[in-house]
Every structure is written in C-alpha cells, then in structure tokens.
C-alpha cells in the first residue's frame, strides 16, 4: 500500500512538551483520524507535517517523493487550522483574492458555491459583506473548509474540522470527505483530528491514537475492531474476568472494559458478555489504557 506521508523518528520539542519520536505511515487513498486527549500533540503533529512549525528531528516523506514541504508539496496539501486560520478582519472576498494569489488551483467560483452549500452567507454570492470577526465559530470553520475544498489538492490536513460544526453539518462534512476520497481514485488522502469521534466515525478509515506526544495505537478501523473487544457484564463475573481486561470501569452492579479479541472465547466461557467496540468506545478505552501505562 502506498503512503501519503511517511515519518521516521519525527520529533518536535518545546520547553514543556515533546512530540515523538514518531514513526508512522499515513495510507494513501484513505481518511485518517488523529484521536487523542487535549494536549496529546495532535495539532503539533499536524502543524509539523504541513510545515507550519519546524520539526526538531526526523524525516517526513510526502507522496513518496519529497522530504520537505516545498512550494510544490504545499500546493498539493490543503491545510486548515482549528481557529484563527485567516486574519480576523478578512471577508470571504479577501480570502478568495488571497487564495487565488497564493495557490495555483484555487477556484473562486467553486469557493462561492461551497460557501453557499455550507450555508455561509458571503459577498461572493451577493449577500451582505461580513468579516470573520462578525461570524460565529461554526461559520468561520465552514468558510475555512470551503476555502480548502475549493482547491485541487491531493492531501487534506484538517485540524478539528468538526469541532464547531452542528451535527447536521458534521454529517455533511463526512459525506464531503467520502466524496473527496472517492473522486481521488486512491490518490487523495485526508488527515483530520477530532474529538467528536461518534459523529466523525463514518469519515475515518484509519486511526492514529495519540497520548502525551506519542502514538499509542494505530491501524484501520476495521482491523482495530477485530483486534479488541468490549467486555461488559454484571459485577458477579468481574473477579473471574478482570485478568483479561486491559481497562476496567465498574460500579456496584455492572462492569465493562477493553480486552483483546483473542480472549473473546475465554471471557465468554467465564460468563461475561462481549461486543465489538464502536470507534468511540475504542478511543476512550485505548486512551484510558495509555494513561494507565503512563502512570497517571
């Protein structure tokens, strides 16, 4: 399988935080979700990959060709930050003019159309002129995303694109992701970070779980769902099953936890109920496990 991005020994060091050392591959032609707690390093990783901040060490290869964010590579990457992406006093027209100047493939008409589709009123479609300061956080994110989708890119790198969107718009965003991937015919890739895992589950093919600047688990969603199970039952069977559980949470009557799928039959033979985890459950349990391993 081809990789859109390959990182080897990638690190980014701040005084109070260190990202990495990370080794990973982002599969080409799929949508990859970065999942982690606040401060896990998702934004740092995204910014490092897109050349927004300089990496401290390591090597990143883009599309199997370049090892640096050259002008040509940046043309192929559609990057969008979570907040304050454009200067606050810019309007949709300012964004269009600037992006037209900065990116060869930016299409103003497409931008206006996507703005309309996303329900953002802009002067491009004859509506009242508004700058970003006058827009809600949700509308700001919509206009950021519209500007990125209005370009012809091979890789979208989006930092929490769904965070300020309403559930309906998040669902439409997932559809747009799928459409982008499908149109690419295996050549277009998406990387996005998210906290709204249940809403964005439909959009994720591959997942990277991060905790404290490290990757704690990664893989295709379907593979991870085959690798882990959720064990859940009455508290009566807890003592006999707890040795199989990687994470545990219980109250007076019931318990649940994450276990390896290879222990499914054993858990069931001990009377415990098992189920295939959703991505939401998987995320919570894997991040819990990472915290336990870090000794928190």
């Amino acid at each position: 399988m081809k990789a859109a991005i390959t990182a080897k020994g990638l690190t980014k060091e701040y005084k109070t935080f260190k990202l990495g050392e990370l080794d990973f591959e982002i599969p080409m032609g799929f949508s990859t979700a970065l999942i982690g707690a606040n401060g896990a390093g998702k934004t740092t990783l995204i910014d490092t990959l897109c050349g927004i901040i300089e990496k401290t060490n390591g090597e990143v290869t883009y599309f199997g060709e370049a090892t640096d964010t050259t002008a040509e590579i940046k043309e192929r990457i559609g990057y969008c930050a979570a907040q304050s992406f454009y200067p606050a006093d810019w309007t949709a027209k300012n964004i269009a003019v600037s992006c037209e100047a900065a990116f060869k493939t930016f299409n103003r008409e497409k931008f206006a159309t996507i703005c309309d589709e996303m329900g953002v009123e802009s002067e491009l479609s004859g509506k009242k002129k508004k700058n970003l300061m006058q827009m809600s956080d949700g509308n700001k994110m919509r206009i950021y995303l519209a500007s990125v989708f209005a370009r012809d890119t091979d890789l979208l790198v989006l930092d929490e694109p769904g965070s300020n969107l309403d559930p309906l718009m998040r669902d439409r965003l997932c559809d747009r992701f799928r459409q982008y991937i499908d149109e690419g015919d295996g050549e277009k890739t998406i990387i996005f970070s998210t906290h709204n895992i249940s809403d964005m589950e439909y959009a994720a093919d591959y997942v990277i779980f991060m905790s404290a600047g490290k990757i704690v688990e990664q893989g295709f969603v379907e593979d991870l769902k085959e690798k882990y199970i959720i064990v859940r039952d009455d508290i009566a069977t807890y003592e006999s099953v707890k040795g199989l559980l990687l994470t545990k949470s219980k109250n007076a009557t019931v318990y649940s936890g994450l276990a390896l799928a290879e222990n499914k039959e054993k858990a069931e033979s001990l009377g415990a109920g098992t189920e295939i985890p959703t991505l939401q459950q998987l995320s919570i349990e894997i991040l819990k496990l990472a915290e336990m391993n870090e000794g928190k």
């Binding site: 927004i52 002008a71 040509e72 940046k74 810019w90 003019v97 900065a102």
Partner: protein
C-alpha cells in the same frame, strides 16, 4: 499593484529610500534652506537607515510570530516567506511613511533645529520601541500608535525650543499656533490616514504575490 507585486523586498526598500530623497529634494526646492543643515542631512540619512533595517527586522519577526492571526495560513502557502515578508514590509512602509510625513510637516514649523542629533537619537529609540511594542498588534492599531508617537516628538521638541529660546526670531510662528497646527495635523492624520490605510492594507494583504 502590479509594480508592487513584481518587486522583491529589496526593491520595495529602494523605493522607500527614493521617496525619502524625493521629499528631501522637495524641501530643497521649496527654498527653505534652514532645513538643509548638515545635522538635518544626517538625521534624514539616519532615519532612512533605521527604517530600512527595521522594516526587514520586523518583517522577519512578524512572520515568525504565532501570535498574529492568520499566521498559520501564511505559513501554509507556497513560498510563504516571500509573501509574508512582502505583506509586512508593505504595511511597515505605510506606517513609517505616515509617521515620517507628519514629522517633516511638523519640522517645517520649527524655527531652529539646534539639537538635531538628539532628535535623531530620540527617533531611534522611539522607532525601536514602537517596533517592539507593535510587532504583535494588528495593523490598524499599529498605525494609531506610530502616528501618535511620530507626532508627539516634534510637538515636544517645538515646545522645548520655545521654552528654552532666549530670543524669538522675527519669523517665528507663535507656539500656540504651532500647537494648534500640530494638533490638527495629528488628529487629521490619525483619522484620515487610518481609514486610507485600512483600505490600502487590506488590498496589499490580499493581493500580495499575485501575477
């Protein structure tokens, strides 16, 4: 706009220097030879060099500053260094240009410039301070701050000269008139030039690199 777009930062700085020289020549042609003392020439040269240096310094400082809104967008575009530097230089040229123009207007009203080197040092200090203070605020606020700072210096100097002067020259404009003119110039400059700058700034910021 196309001329601006095709220029590199060095070219822009050269235009800035040319403007300074042109302003100086205009003063010369106006026949007011009192403004052509060696001290004034040194002052103008000093100012030009300071501005040239600071424009580049601030330009680099700005695009490295995550505090600036839009920083991530600028970093994400191809050849962002060039684009961002151009944007900063353009806005700084407008800022310094406004301040410098106001200063020249104000200097014309001064009867004597007996301590020009001191003014030069004050300028150096104020400009450096202004650069540091305003490096992280948005461009509109920077114009306000610069305009105020540049206007206050001649105002203070004029007042000091008037207070310290033993003999008032015959052609001396009374201090009260001078203060009114300075005040009017300052207020007018702040209001009108800021409005102009906001318009120009938006055009510059959104059109850099085009073509």
């Amino acid at each position: 706009m196309k001329i601006y777009q095709s220029l590199k930062p060095q070219g822009l700085a050269a235009i800035m220097l040319f403007v300074f020289v042109a302003m100086f020549v205009i003063i010369l042609l106006s026949g007011d030879t009192t403004l052509l003392s060696p001290q004034v020439i040194i002052l103008v040269a000093e100012l030009a060099l300071i501005m040239y240096g600071l424009v580049f310094g601030r330009a680099h400082l700005s695009y490295c500053a995550p505090e600036i809104h839009g920083y991530k967008y600028f970093r994400s575009i191809p050849n962002f260094e060039c684009h961002f530097r151009k944007q900063c230089i353009a806005s700084d040229i407008v800022c310094y240009g406004i301040g410098y123009a106001i200063t020249i207007i104000n200097l014309i009203f001064m009867p004597e410039i007996s301590f020009t080197p001191v003014i030069g040092i004050i300028y150096l200090f104020i400009t450096a301070l202004g650069t540091l203070i305003t490096a992280f605020v948005n461009t509109s606020h920077r114009v306000y701050i610069y305009t105020m700072m540049f206007s206050m210096i001649p105002l203070t100097c004029g007042t000091v000269i008037f207070v310290l002067a033993d003999d008032i020259p015959k052609n001396f404009i009374p201090c009260s008139v001078q203060l009114i003119i300075l005040g009017c110039v300052t207020i007018f400059a702040i209001i009108s030039l800021t409005l102009f700058y906001k318009r120009l700034g938006n055009n510059l910021r959104t059109s850099y690199g085009k073509g």
